[in-house]
Structure formats: structure tokens, C-alpha cells
Amino acid sequence: MSNDPGIPGAAAPACPLPLPHHDRIVLGHGGGGRLTAELIERLFRPRLGNPTLDAGDDAALLELREPLPAGARLALTTDAHIVRPLFFPGGDIGRLAICGTVNDLAMVGARPLGLAAAFVIEEGLDTALLARVADSMRDAAAEAGVAVVAGDTKVAERGNVDGLYIATAAVGVVPPGRDCRAAGARPGDAVIVSGSLGEHGLAVLAARGDLALRTTIVSDVAPLNGLVEALFAAGVDVRALRDPTRGGLAAALNEIAARSGVGLTLDEAAIPVRPEVAAACEMLGFDPLHLPNEGKLVAFVPERQAATALAALRAHPLGAGAVVIGRVEDGPRARVLLRTTIGGTRIVDVPAGELLPRIC
């Protein structure tokens, strides 16, 4: 279990104990009785409370202020969040939970209506740490313009959970006229990434401490719904969107190529990677295209709209580094090719699974 914040020198929380008599979560906090009520009232409500959540019903009631327009669709997504350490440079499990879920909705063009979060807490977890997670979720939710409208808490016996797991679900509305799906890429489309790659993956790996690296890399975890709205607002016909999380850009592009039945070619020289990320990858034998990102998107747009798309992305703080990295070609289907900086060509394959440092 990691009570440790994971950041050297991280300040201890300055606020008084969130729960007056408990500096650690006990099994009773998941029992559904007084302790649970206290946990919700004293820890969660002050941080995540809103009228819907505070109503305290078994399910959140979301009122539609106006009927859904014809052709609109509902989007529903769910995510489970497990990360070690719980706090890492640039974020924490709470921020990851909010942003990851909001981003899933954004990748189908959906505007979030509400988010639900279930907490599975290990007996013995430091209460102040849980409060910090909730603070972070509040901040991330505010950034995304979304509310946590439903929640649940369970406590598992010590040793049965690694500190804290958060599972989320969210519902959103896709306005009519938006149709971006994994199967939407077409020959001739431009492939655009919103910024540099690999930062979340490396920040978390470095924070684990096993590799004894010191870096200034921070996770890029951020909510992308504003960035996506900017793209649509500019009138771009967004064909496909994906946030390259697990498996990195390589997995995301291979997925889209397969589902769309197209081939892509990327330009290695155009793929943005921060020097420090590139350096750490060189040292450990990682491929930056395999590292997870939590605040970036890849967009497929018609070639003639590439410039418009770039301008819209770059005008937004989260898209300042947006670049075209490749094209959907007429080439072999479901293949992602990379033209290397020296003019060779190779395949970008899906990573096997766990990222392992190599000596070879």
C-alpha cells in the first residue's frame, strides 16, 4: 500500500484532519452506517459537493433543461484507475480519474453531463491523503466544467487493495452533426497530435523509484473537452479522435487504422517528443510511441482542413504544440508505417504489454 505521496519534499497537508477522530480509514467507513455518513459529509461533500450529489439519492437525477435535439446522441463511458504511486509529478489518481473519463467522452465529441466516481479504499489509508485526492478531483472537475454527481465508497481489508482504486463512469451528449469514431479515418486525412508525447508514462515510471532516475518530466494529465470543442467550433470535420493512453500513440493509431481499414504513414521527424523524454527512452530502451499520455489527443481531419485544425488547437493552452505528424495513405490497410529520419521505412507496431527497461 502506498501512503507515501511519491514526491520527495511534498508538503504535508496544512489543513486540520478531515475526519475528527480518524487519521486512517477503517473498515467501518465502508459499512454504510454512521462512519460512512461521516466520511461522505466531512471529507467528500465539502470538496466534491454540488446540488445533485448532495441530494443523496441512490442515483443522480440529471435534469435536461431543454429536450435533446434530433440527431443528438448520448455517450456513456467507464474507466478504472489504478496508479502507483498515487501522487506523481503533475498529478495524482484523482486528477487522472476525472480527466481520463472526461477525455473518453470528448473523444467521441460528447459534452459531459455528469460524472460518477466509486472509491475502493484500503483499510488503513491515510485520511489526509484521501482528502488530497478529493481536492484534486474538485480542481480537475472545475477545469473540465463537470460535476461529480454520484459516488460510492467501499473499504477493503488491508492488503486487498493497493491504497486506493477509483472507478468512474460518465454520460455526455454528442451534438448532431458530429461523427468522430475510430472507424472514421479516410485516405488523404491528416494525422495531428495536440502536443508532445510520453510525459505521463515517464513521470509515473520515474516516480516509482525503481529506476532511480531524476527527471523534471511531469505528467500531462489534463481534461481535453475544451480543446475538442475548439476544434469543432472552428468547423473542422473531425473524422476520428483518440487520446493515446495505455499503449501510447502506437496503440491508438493501430486501433484506428484497423477499424477504419486504412493505412497510415507517419513522419518520424515531425513527431514531437521533449528532449528529456527522448533521453530517458534512449537510456532505458523504451519507444516514446509506446508510452501513455493523459493530456494529448490525436485527430484525423480532412487534408484541406489541416491548417484550420492546427490553428484552432494551437489557440488553446492545451494544444500549443499541435503538429501534423502523418497522413492516411492509400497504402496497405491496417498498417501504421513510419518514415524514419534517414529515409527508411518501418512499421509502428502495438507494444506487447508491460514496458521493461532493456540492456540490449
Binding site: R214, T215, A278, A279, A280, E282, M283, G285, I342
Partner: protein, 94 residues
């Protein structure tokens, strides 16, 4: 067998047993054993492999290698001119 990268030596702690130091590679820093490069100085670059420095990068040789290869271009172009046209390999940049 051979994943090694050239890193800049920032700090040497000769009193450590074995001699350890801090190196920087592209902004990433790590503690590395410097026992096998006893003449290394701060600011030198060392080739690091699995946490050890296995040689000191010879800056003069590095420059010389690049110069040599760049000059191939000159000699090659002179020959091409004499022959009446280049033979360029596939995929060469325009």
C-alpha cells in the same frame, strides 16, 4: 547486449566506495559508478551501461569522425562532377 548512452558527468564523489557520481543525459540524471574511469573529470562525457561508466568519450575523436564523414561529401561530389552526374541512393533527401 549493448544499450549504452553518453552522459555528462556533473559530480564525482571519489570518497565513495566504489567511486560514484551524478551524470546527466539529456536532462535525465542518475547516480552512476565511476570506478572504471578514474581519470574522468566533471564536464566529461562517459558511456554508461547498466549503471556504470565503461569509457570516457573522446571529444577529439568524435569531432574527427564527423569531419571525416562530412568530407566524404566533398570528395564524392568532386568525383560525381568528373563522372557527369551523381549516383544517389534510394530515399536520399532532395
Amino acid at each position: 547486449m549493448c544499450l549504452g548512452v553518453p552522459a555528462k558527468v556533473l559530480e564525482i564523489r571519489r570518497s565513495d566506495e566504489p567511486c560514484m557520481g551524478t551524470v546527466d543525459f539529456g536532462g535525465v540524471q542518475r547516480e552512476i559508478c565511476l570506478d572504471w574511469v578514474p581519470d574522468v573529470r566533471e564536464g566529461d562525457y562517459v558511456l554508461i551501461h547498466v549503471g556504470f561508466a565503461i569509457s570516457v568519450i573522446d571529444e577529439t575523436e568524435a569531432r574527427e569522425t564527423l569531419r571525416l564523414l562530412a568530407e566524404l561529401g566533398e570528395a564524392g561530389r568532386a568525383e560525381d562532377a568528373a563522372r557527369g552526374g551523381p549516383l544517389s541512393p534510394p530515399g536520399a533527401p532532395a
